[in-house]
């Protein structure tokens, strides 16, 4: 029996060691960048889902001057390459999936600490201010965002993250998928924009599904002012004010936009009796912007509300292969609309 225990520990140890070496070399999430061989590990087709690790490192590598902040809506819709054309600044898309405004604030702080940010575009959605979602969603480690990265340093990874990205069998599977999936492009472009191909099959159903998923993000038993308060009593509008103050303190030119939503989604907001909260939210954003600017004795940041954009009325086609130009689903717009938004924002 002692031998059995010895074999068991040796087996676990060997697996741990071999898996770790393999994962670091293949590097499916583009964290370590030890080797980069075309046809072996150059493309990273399955790096999605680790954006809070990958994006922070990539920002550190790239050192952008302009960042786009927001959720997956920003990740899918706002192209840094186009922003760069308009602004003449090296731009990076720092959007992540389903963040709260607190997480956006922390990512903004991280970006300021680890790059030379001169300008930022902040894409806002009501979901980020839902008090019932609290300050953090479960994937987010806000302490890491306090870190100032150093050359070749991995000090921002927690032990759990290090384990997950280096030694886990899930990372091993992703390494194999990376190895055999080299014919596919990387999930992210180097500038943080998602390299997606519009999978437009049955748009009708896709709208229904995404709409109900997103409405879930907005669920809150409270309405109006109480909607923005977490169960620990933190007002998320105050967190937004902190974000504005941080921007003023660092002399960053910030542009704030309310993301466009399709009419289909707006109808759901009405159905769920959330319209007054939605309007109040926009009003509070404007007031916060004015108030913080006054505190810093400067002009408020530019604010544009795209929530009722002309393209919000694009007809949802029926049938399996019908495509849409401006929408991926009920709340993710495509870069065709994103480019128009950036153009309108920076030409005003």
């Amino acid at each position: 029996m002692k031998n059995f225990i010895k074999y068991w520990f040796i087996s676990v140890g060997v697996m741990f060691f071999m898996t770790s070496i393999f994962n670091v070399l293949i590097d499916p999430y583009y964290i370590f960048n030890v080797i980069n061989v075309p046809g072996i590990n150059h493309n990273k087709p399955i790096q999605g889902g680790w954006e809070q690790v990958h994006k922070t490192i990539q920002l550190y590598r790239m050192k952008p001057e302009h960042i786009i902040l927001g959720s997956s809506v920003a990740q899918y819709g706002l192209r840094p390459s186009f922003a760069r054309e308009l602004l003449g600044l090296k731009s990076y898309n720092m959007g992540i999936d389903g963040p709260t405004i607190f997480e956006v604030y922390k990512l903004f702080g991280f970006s300021i600490n680890n790059s030379d940010i001169k300008s930022a575009t902040l894409s806002l959605e009501l979901m980020m201010f839902n008090g019932e979602r609290g300050l953090n969603n479960s994937r987010f480690n806000d302490q890491r965002m306090e870190v100032v990265l150093k050359e070749n340093s991995l000090n921002f990874l927690t032990m759990k993250e290090l384990y997950r990205t280096v030694s886990s069998t899930r990372a091993l599977k992703d390494s194999f998928d990376t190895l055999i999936g080299q014919y596919r492009p990387s999930y992210y472009y180097d500038d943080g924009f998602i390299n997606y191909s519009l999978e437009q099959k049955n748009m009708d159903l896709s709208f229904q599904r995404s709409n109900s998923a997103y409405i879930d993000f907005l669920k809150n038993q409270n309405r109006n002012e109480k909607y923005f308060i977490t169960n620990k009593g933190v007002n998320l509008i105050d967190v937004f004010k902190d974000l504005l103050a941080l921007s003023h303190q660092n002399g960053i030119k910030l542009d704030i936009l309310i993301s466009p939503v399709h009419d289909y989604f707006l109808d759901s907001i009405k159905d769920k009796n959330l319209l007054s909260t939605y309007d109040l939210w926009k009003e509070m954003i404007v007031q916060a912007n004015v108030k913080i600017a006054a505190e810093y004795k400067t002009a408020p940041y530019r604010f544009v509300d795209f929530s009722e954009h002309d393209m919000s009325k694009e007809v949802i086609p029926k049938g399996n292969n019908a495509k849409m130009k401006y929408w991926k689903d009920a709340y993710h717009f495509s870069y065709n609309l994103g480019d128009q938004i950036l153009e309108e924002l920076y030409k005003k």
């Binding site: 074999y7 697996m15 069998t169």
Partner: protein, 510 residues
């Protein structure tokens, strides 16, 4: 702290094991027990330290009560002590339920504070009640405070059972074993823990996403197809099975690491060919408690078939209520009570008319499948968030909202009733995303639970009253060699990679 967490596996267990064996080596058994009680209290308090005083007070109260009962054999005091225990469980677990029903019945608006259910209160309270009764019945030879504290708080069984008797555990700690470390127990303990961890984090947690999606869609009144509703119910059946079986294996394996063999609590219940066998193999220690302390106290089967049936029904209703403060749990208990009564009646009829069971394989498998279906249907009440939700689920499962079938199949069913609706693949399984994979998983899991040996069969550990190893097809036995070590290391490695952010065991909420 959860068994399926990195802190527990990589920090807590190595530290406690080292402390446990070193303290015996350097000091004596008393210090060894102190180490284990302290670690167990830390384990309990890690979840919510506000409830630590509750378990400590409960241990103190029951210890002193046991001393009084032991010395005086006073039935009145026994009843008083049991009442205090029941009061604490009623306060924490059922107060809101009773008040809600009073408000509903009388139109009153009594407000009661939201109380967080202290972890494991149902388990440690029942265990202590059984101890008090055992003391009164003269089944306990001696009461030692440290032994008693260890009996209640021993962390492998503290949170979700098994509900053990004092005599099953404490003599094992007091045995002057030589050599001190039982390597056989440790090897088997590691192996069974790995298997349990795999069941929980790789299988049960994986099933949870689709099950949650289907049941929450039902609650919200969103569309769920006929096939999705069935796969949701069957999926939950397996989620609960692998969750609780995983927990029970982990508890058993952990106890073995400390040289203690816990009673088996879960023994392939879905292999049962009738509901009586099911209750002998599912949550065995709870069934035993209900039988010994409720059913027998009510008179058991002594007073004729009608009284026996009534006793059975009362026991199962209380068993349902033990699982949670809600009418759905009571109904679930009632369904099982009714099934047990029917099963007993059928047995009596067979005896009366000299009907012999067909002993063919096919008959046995049909009975297994039928028992599984009955249990699965009853779980719908167990899982649904509301009674309305459960009824809605049944409505869909019995085709009363239409049955989506493929376009091809619909061509052949032209003359059938209009409940059949032609649909594409997405509509047939809405809202499940990858239906073929999910359906395949459920079939494979069914074959697993029916045909593969459980860990206790694998390690020949099932020498327990009323447990019979029958029904599995592949007679695999564990051998302590490099091959098995490697296989179990792979299982462990895959499992720890799948540990999610926070995934509580389903039985923690009972």
């Amino acid at each position: 702290m959860l068994f399926n967490s990195y802190e527990f596996i990589f920090i807590f267990i190595p530290l406690v094991l080292s402390g446990y064996y070193l303290s015996d080596h350097l000091f004596n058994k008393t210090i060894q027990k102190v180490v284990l009680v302290t670690a167990s209290l830390f384990f309990y308090g890690y979840w919510n330290h506000y409830y630590l005083p509750l378990i400590v007070l409960s241990v103190l109260f029951n210890y002193f009560s046991a001393i009084i009962i032991y010395n005086q054999k006073n039935k009145a005091y026994l009843l008083f002590a049991i009442s205090v225990n029941l009061f604490s469980i009623v306060y924490f677990k059922y107060a809101n339920f009773f008040i809600e029903n009073i408000n509903h019945a009388f139109g009153s608006s009594i407000i009661f504070e939201d109380i967080i259910l202290p972890l494991a209160i149902s388990f440690f309270t029942f265990q202590q009640i059984s101890f008090l009764v055992d003391v009164y019945r003269d089944e306990i030879e001696e009461i030692d405070f440290l032994d008693y504290s260890l009996f209640v708080t021993f962390f492998p069984q503290l949170i979700a059972g098994p509900i053990v008797h004092h005599k099953e555990i404490i003599p094992q700690f007091n045995k002057a074993s030589t050599p001190v470390i039982n390597w056989e127990f440790i090897a088997i303990g590691i192996a069974i823990f790995c298997m349990g961890l795999f069941k929980k984090v790789v299988i049960a947690d994986d099933l949870a996403s689709n099950v949650t999606l289907i049941f929450s869609n039902i609650e919200q009144g969103q569309f769920v197809s006929f096939l999705a509703a069935w796969s949701g119910a069957v999926g939950y059946s397996f989620q609960l099975y692998f969750d609780f079986s995983g927990y029970s294996d982990m508890a058993f394996g952990l106890a073995l690491l400390f040289g203690v063999k816990l009673p088996i609590n879960f023994f392939s219940p879905y292999r049962s060919a009738n509901i009586i066998i099911f209750w002998r193999t599912w949550h065995i220690s709870l069934s035993r408690f209900l039988r010994d302390y409720v059913y027998f106290t009510l008179g058991g089967s002594k007073h004729g078939p009608v009284r026996k049936s009534a006793n059975l029904m009362i026991t199962m209703l209380l068993g349902g209520l033990w699982h949670g403060a809600g009418w759905a749990f009571v109904i679930w208990g009632g369904i099982h009570g009714a099934l047990l009564i029917l099963n007993n009646a059928w047995r009596s009829l067979k005896k009366l008319f000299h009907i012999k069971d067909s002993e063919t394989e096919i008959n046995y498998r049909i009975c297994q499948l039928f028992t599984f279906l009955c249990v699965t249907l009853a779980w719908v009440f167990f899982r649904s968030e509301s009674l309305d939700g459960a009824l809605h689920m049944f409505w869909i499962m019995f085709g009363l909202e239409g049955i989506n079938i493929s376009h091809k199949a619909s061509q052949f069913l032209t003359y059938l009733p209009s409940i059949f609706i032609a649909s594409d693949m997405i509509g047939m399984f809405e809202p499940i995303g990858d239906a073929p994979t999910y359906a395949t998983k459920l079939i494979v899991l069914y074959l697993w639970v029916i045909f593969l040996p459980n860990p206790y069969e694998l390690f020949k550990l099932y020498h327990q009253k009323r447990l019979h190893s029958t029904g599995f097809k592949f007679n695999i036995l564990f051998k302590p060699n490099a091959g098995w070590a490697f296989l179990l290391a792979v299982i462990f490695y895959v499992s720890i990679s799948n540990i999610g952010s926070y995934s509580e065991f389903l039985y923690f909420r009972f």
